[in-house]
């Protein structure tokens, strides 16, 4: 169980709260949506859950224990901008295998072509990079996935294909997902319940 208990965040001691008093749970295998207008703090909350940001108030727990500070984090984030999530000086084959070696079948299902792997990040589009980033984050030690506007840069067909692959993969392995989006249609389609910020 991934839990946020009374999580709040603000920048500076007297700044306004960006996220305040949020309680949230994601069970293994469950797909939860997080909806909110622009600026509502969706990404901030996602970053707190993924351990990128220490909350000012409250805490995040995985199976009752606080988020581990070292070792592979069971909660993995997929961010909105894949071009920032890959090292521009690494060939993509190295980036893809940074955390684990994704099987050929998964790469095929995500629509990753073998020809991309010899290239560098600036030679691929945002949507192509995002598929590599998704494959990288789906390792066996990932128990929860925070997908922050994961598919906004993709066309509708590729979006559907990517979601199908990720959902199948997570269902098979009992990975819980938090889907952050402002797209109501997407959330109602993939999530079993949705939280509004």
């Amino acid at each position: 169980m991934l839990e946020a208990r009374g999580v709040g965040h603000r920048h500076g001691r007297n700044g306004p709260w960006v996220v305040r008093e949020v309680d949230l749970t994601v069970a293994p295998g469950e797909v939860v949506g997080l909806f909110g207008p622009s600026g509502a703090g969706k990404t901030t909350l996602g970053n707190i859950l993924g351990g990128y940001l220490a909350p000012e108030a409250g805490a995040v727990f995985v199976d009752g224990a606080p988020l581990p500070r070292r070792g592979y984090l069971p909660v993995q984030c997929i961010h909105q901008h894949p071009e920032l999530a890959v090292n521009p000086r690494w060939p993509l084959s190295r980036t893809l295998r940074e955390a684990w070696s994704p099987p050929e079948a998964l790469l095929g299902a995500l629509g990753i072509l073998p020809g991309w792997l010899g290239r560098y990040p600036h030679e691929l589009s945002g949507g192509e990079l995002q598929r590599l980033v998704v494959a990288r984050a789906l390792g066996p030690k990932t128990r929860y996935l925070v997908a922050d506007e994961m598919t906004v840069m993709l066309d509708a067909l590729t979006q559907a294909r990517l979601w199908r692959t990720v959902m199948d993969h997570c269902r098979e392995r009992g990975v819980g997902m938090l889907v952050i989006s402002h797209d109501v249609a997407l959330l109602s389609r993939v999530c079993s319940r949705t939280i509004s910020l």
């Binding site: 993924g50 351990g51 990128y52 070292r70 070792g71 592979y72 984090l73 993995q76 984030c77 961010h79 901008h81 920032l84 999530a85 890959v86 090292n87 521009p88 000086r89 690494w90 060939p91 940074e98 955390a99 560098y120 600036h122």
Partner: protein, 296 residues
Amino acid sequence: MRAARTVFPGSPGLAGLRLAEALGLGSRRGRWLWAMGICLAVFAAVPVLAWLLGDAGLEPDLLARNQPPSLGHLFGTDSLGRDMLSRTVHGLVLSLRVGLLAAAASSVLALVLGVASASLGRAADGVVSWLVDIFMTVPHMVLLILISFAVGGGARGVVIAVALTHWPALTRVIRAEVLQLRGALYVQTARRFGQGPLAVAATHMLPHLLPQFLIGLILLFPHAILHEAALSFLGVGLSPHTPAVGILLAESMRHLSTGYWWLGILPGAALLALVKCFDILGYNLDRLLDPKTSQE
């Protein structure tokens, strides 16, 4: 290049084009590699030339005083009849040695201080940034003269003075780079994948720092050479008997108005060419190491 590819078979341009393609000149990458190779060859040629010319030209020959450039003396002779080509080449060898030592010491200092400043916490950052500010506010030349004078002048003084005054700019660059890298999403993500701080530094940060360091080192080189020349010119560097470019230029000042132009212009042009070679080397290495440009 694109226009040249449409040359019809049999036209005279084709053979030249084929030759260019075979030598790798068709791509920018190939041209960069050639340019770097030529620069390295120039650096290697200087000590070889000094060895070939020997010390003979450094002795005074009062029968051949103040001769303009000729086939016997390509750079002419000075007022004591010494061959200016020999003196210039020996001077450049000394410049290269001083420049290499000073630039290497300076950039290693910059790397250590820059990385320490960005990763050892606020106190270390404060101290290093303060030192950088201090060294940057004092006029360069004054500091160079003071340090060189304090350690007793000579080649050693020049090396120490240049090394101690040239680290601040590169330190700032490396500090900024490390700070930026630490905040980068891919570095943070690597930590979430369970990689330790040292592993992340070695695998993710080093590929970004290495080009900065190498290019900083190469671009410090001309600075070091020019400052060596400047210090010697001012009289606090090398002794006036050593054939150094700075000394040659200082001597030539006295003869500029009397029409002995070759005494100043030819050694000056040789120094300029050497410095420009370093500039070209650094610039091309930068583009070659960056994946965004290296495949062109």
